[in-house]
């Protein structure tokens, strides 16, 4: 398969922008913005052939494999490729980046060069994590993502930026470090060789090993998702991050967690997945309800959207853990939807913050009269976030609830459904307080409506909201075969595991030394 290395070109194209930016005078702000925008647009264009060239089957496509590190017992490859699970997430990333960059055109006015470098590096990290088929490579990209995001929050963030940035970094780091240990242990358990994901899929692990390895992986991903009760870093990070940071955080970074479950934690440890499904479903449902309730009482629009993120990702997790066709495709679709809708919401919050330098709901009211275009767009996005039929949100939520209802998670689905109502309550209530009523605050009476640039930013998102809402089939079709394969893989492994070990108490975790053979030389 020695064709054009499309994936690598796409992944490392932003790096070209970084190198270019290094040589640009640090005062030429507009040039920095243009370079970053052009490079990210080019990345998006380069990523499009992935969609058109993608065959709707379960195989990994556009695969590239080059030996990278080979020493002692270790063999790491530069092994990348995409299947139906990663395809749309890759496209979502390349799609959202130009929007995010365009959104900060006037919001960030100092250290623009460094800001753009961080954004582009972040894009490399995110794309790399989605395309890696080598666990070691994945881990590198996974960690590399942290650094630019840390700087984006910490340098260009709001009042509490340092606290939020450090919290974000440490939370994620703790989780991923344990994943690293499990990853190495898995490697030795698989008998050495290379770190290829596909090879690890075939390894059969005993239930006790699976338990703690799954927990280590799941912790890393659950922090990133974030699942209740590990979500506390998210509202801080979201609120303090600059608009582009929030958009990327919501649209892509959080998907790393859910993607991690689908790609790594569940298929690698199917038996443990089955065992922990009730736990994770419970946490998801708690996340849905709890985050919705907390969102309801927020005074800060951005914080409200941040909590709504937690609730939305609860749906994703519920669908994913249903582990059937509807649930998984619903979950995957919901990942994309959340990226689009919540990304758009953060952009909207950014627009009014740029104008008024406040995000408190009480500072607004009656904006609809003053900013009709803004009001229309805001309305559409709000409805899509609630999941109104005809918008993207509906399809995803519907499939998730359908899937989980048909699986063993029936009662979770029943409770989770109430989250839909709660979402309508807090979103509409917020919308009402911000947009309708009397235009009392004199500061709001001079507000200007969206300018051309801002409309251009929102347009692609609005189009997607309707396209995905009315005609989601092409999205689902591309991912279905891969999801089907994943389900078959997990279910069959769970079956064999059950046949071998009829009963296994959850608490029985054997000491590590017994799990891994001592020095296998």
């Amino acid at each position: 398969m020695s064709q054009f290395p499309l994936i690598s070109v796409m992944t490392f194209l932003p790096l070209m922008g970084v190198i270019l930016l290094f040589f640009v005078n640090k005062k030429s702000y507009s040039l920095h913005r243009v370079i970053a925008l052009v490079v990210s647009l080019a990345t998006f264009v380069v990523s499009l052939p992935l969609v058109t060239g993608f065959q709707s089957n379960a195989e990994f496509q556009f695969v590239e494999k080059v030996p990278w590190i080979s020493v002692g017992p270790f063999q790491m490859n530069y092994h990348v490729g995409i299947d139906g699970i990663s395809l749309w997430l890759v496209i979502l990333t390349t799609f959202i980046m130009p929007i995010a960059i365009l959104s900060t055109w006037t919001a960030v006015e100092e250290k623009v060069k460094e800001y753009m470098i961080c954004l582009l590096l972040l894009e490399v990290g995110m794309l790399g994590a989605f395309i890696s088929l080598d666990l070691f490579l994945f881990y590198i990209f996974w960690e590399v993502m942290l650094i630019p995001m840390y700087f984006i929050i910490g340098i260009w963030g709001g009042k509490n930026k340092i606290y939020a940035a450090v919290k974000f970094f440490i939370y994620t780091m703790v989780g991923s470090m344990l994943m690293l240990v499990a990853l190495i242990a898995l490697y030795f358990k698989a008998g050495g060789g290379d770190f290829s994901l596909l090879r690890f899929y075939e390894v059969s692990l005993d239930p006790a090993t699976q338990t703690w390895m799954f927990l280590a992986f799941a912790l890393a991903f659950a922090i990133k998702v974030p699942m209740f009760p590990l979500h506390t870093w998210l509202p801080d990070a979201h609120t303090e991050a600059p608009t582009a940071g929030s958009v990327i955080l919501a649209a892509v970074l959080l998907k790393m967690g859910t993607y991690g479950f689908v790609r790594f934690a569940m298929p690698l440890f199917p038996d443990a997945t089955a065992r922990f499904t009730p736990l994770f479903a419970t946490l998801s449902v708690i996340g849905i309800i709890y985050a919705a309730l907390v969102a309801m009482v927020q005074e800060d629009v951005k914080k409200l959207v941040a909590y709504s993120s937690v609730a939305h990702l609860g749906y994703v997790m519920l669908g994913v853990f249903a582990l059937n066709q509807q649930g998984l495709s619903g979950g995957m679709l919901q990942m994309l939807n959340h990226g689009v809708s919540t990304g758009a919401l953060f952009l909207i919050v950014g627009f009014i913050y740029e104008r008024r330098h406040t995000r408190l709901i009480t500072d607004f009211g009656g904006l609809a009269k003053q900013m009709p275009i803004f009001a229309t767009i805001f309305m559409i996005v709000t409805l899509s976030s609630i999941g109104l039929p005809g918008t993207n949100g509906f399809v995803g939520e519907f499939l998730v609830l359908l899937g989980s209802f048909e699986s063993s998670l029936r009662w979770y689905a029943v409770i989770g459904t109430s989250g839909v109502i709660l979402a309508a309550v807090y979103m509409l209530w917020m919308f009402q307080r911000v947009m309708f009523g009397e235009l009392t605050n004199p500061k709001n009476q001079t507000l200007t409506d969206l300018n051309a640039r801002e409309i251009v930013i929102m347009l692609p998102l609005l189009v997607l909201i309707f396209v995905m809402g009315v005609y989601p089939t092409p999205f689902i079709d591309k991912m279905s075969p891969s999801l089907e394969k994943l389900i078959v893989h997990c279910k069959s492994k769970q079956q064999t595991a059950k046949a071998e070990v009829p009963q296994l108490p959850v608490a029985q975790v054997s000491p590590a030394a017994a799990v891994i053979p001592a020095d296998s030389k």
Binding site: V71, G72, E114, I155, M177, L180, V181, P517, K521
Partner: protein, 485 residues
């Protein structure tokens, strides 16, 4: 009349040491004739000596081990790799010394010969296959370092550092020597290989308490030298007080030398007691990592912070040591090398930011550094991320290798403690970055004039911290080849 058989003297295995000592002595003489503002020339001369020593050293790489002085020294890949680290740390230290000495107005030329002598001592430690040779190397190293630590005579803290290091160092040497004596008493030999032979032949020796106490005391002595907890107490004060280039040097070279000797003694002399010394080592590893990191968390002086962090790093290396397999040893070698780059690099920046009288050494003094000096701040970030073990840096690969060796040997919980520790360590490394990037500048940093030598040191260090992070194969292979056993 009994004839005394003089063994054939083979200088080849200690050629680099010989060259360095000759240069050191010559420089002491030359020093008299060099005016104080031109001592930098001594630095260049000593760099010349290091380069010649390095060339002779490289010559022996890959060749079969050479023995000399009736097999009390041995030049093998293991020793060569470590000697490379020593020469590198000496080079980087010399590059950053002149700037500091001019600033502190203690421009005394003896600095360079002393660094060369210390390096000679370290090299002997890495080569020593006899307890006496190792001790000899250790003393040559230590005596030079005592002087170097107290080098800045006008500074009270430097005086304190020298004295403290001398007293505690002498104490630990006592432990080490006593342990060696007991081991000699129990086995009748000081040759490391012979000790192993003796143990293999005499099962009774294992029941001999003298023998165990000997091993334990030696381990204690070495633990002092590598600053493993609970024998780390001298480190923060000495690191804080010593002149900054010497702190950088002490955190890299001598620590690696301690590991070199420690590794050789335990692995070659006591292989049959592996179960015993790994038990000892994991306790040391856990204590060292945890204590180092926890205390580093609330240090405000950046030199002290790096001192505690270097204790923690010794703990990570001990994790690989505990694993006791080839990967673990190779991991230590790789880690020591990358640690040399990242730590001396960080100290180079500290020297630049510092003012006369060791001022500006607080973390808060770095506020807004990135705004004023973006390139240097970027370099500092690379060092700090590498120390924290973030990919794609050498620090990450090193930790990955160390921890995976432990996991392979079945010490999963030790690896978990290790990674949790490095997650905690992120906090204090990030703190420096928070000040550099996220706080408004309070200083102009206008006194900073980086000399070409310092810039070269930073450049080399950045390359050393980054390139092995992206393309580690070559260095890892070298480390793999350097593992004795």
């Amino acid at each position: 009349m009994e004839t005394i058989a003089i063994p054939a003297i083979n200088f080849a295995p200690i050629m680099p040491e010989v060259i360095l000592s000759i240069f050191g002595m010559a420089l002491l003489l030359v020093n008299v004739f060099v005016p104080s503002e031109q001592k930098a020339y001594l630095g260049y001369l000593s760099l010349g000596g290091i380069i010649i020593a390095a060339l002779t050293l490289l010559n022996g790489w890959g060749a079969p081990p050479q023995e000399g002085f009736s097999s009390s020294v041995q030049l093998d890949n293991f020793a060569i790799f470590f000697k490379g680290i020593f020469l590198l740390s000496a080079t980087l230290t010399i590059l950053i010394s002149d700037h500091y000495m001019k600033r502190e107005e203690c421009n005394v030329g003896e600095l360079y010969p002393l660094i060369l002598f210390a390096t000679t001592g370290m090299m002997l430690m890495a080569s020593g296959t006899d307890l006496m040779t190792i001790f000899l190397g250790l003393e040559v190293l230590s005596v030079s370092l005592y002087v170097l630590a107290g080098f800045n005579r006008a500074n009270v803290k430097s005086n304190e550092a020298g004295l403290k290091y001398f007293l505690l160092g002498a104490f630990s040497t006592g432990f080490l020597l006593y342990g060696m004596a007991l081991t000699y008493g129990a086995t009748g030999t000081t040759r490391i290989a012979k000790i192993a032979e003796f143990i293999a032949q005499n099962t009774s020796v294992a029941a001999n308490p003298m023998f165990y106490i000997g091993m334990l005391l030696m381990a204690t002595g070495f633990s002092f030298k590598i600053a493993a907890a609970p024998f780390h107490m001298w480190t923060p004060d000495v690191y804080e007080g010593a002149p900054t280039p010497i702190t950088a040097y002490m955190s890299a070279g001598p620590k690696a030398a301690g590991f070199a000797a420690f590794l050789r003694v335990l692995i070659v002399a006591f292989p049959s007691l592996k179960a015993d010394w790994t038990d000892l080592l994991w306790v040391l590893a856990v204590l060292t990592m945890t204590i180092g990191n926890i205390i580093a968390l609330n240090q405000n002086n950046i030199k002290r912070m790096l001192a505690y962090s270097s204790i923690a790093h010794a703990g990570y290396a001990l994790v690989g040591f505990t694993a006791g397999n080839a990967e673990g040893t190779a991991g230590i070698l790789f880690y020591m090398l990358s640690y040399t780059f990242m730590n001396i690099g960080a100290f180079a920046i500290i020297i630049l930011v510092g003012k006369k009288g060791e001022e500006n050494n607080n973390v808060s003094d770095y506020a807004g550094f990135a705004t004023k000096h973006p390139v240097l701040a970027l370099a500092m970030s690379v060092f700090l991320f590498s120390l924290a073990g973030m990919p794609p840096t050498a620090g990450f690969i090193g930790k990955f290798y160390l921890f995976s060796s432990a996991i392979k040997a079945g010490y999963i919980w030790l690896a978990i403690i290790g990674v949790l520790n490095s997650a905690a360590s992120v906090y204090y490394y990030l703190r420096v970055m928070v000040y550099m990037y996220m706080k408004d500048p309070v200083e102009e940093f206008d006194w900073m004039k980086a000399s070409p030598a310092v810039m070269l040191c930073i450049l080399v260090s950045v390359a050393g911290a980054l390139i092995p992070g992206v393309l580690p194969s070559y260095l890892l292979e070298l480390a793999q080849k350097a593992v004795l056993l």
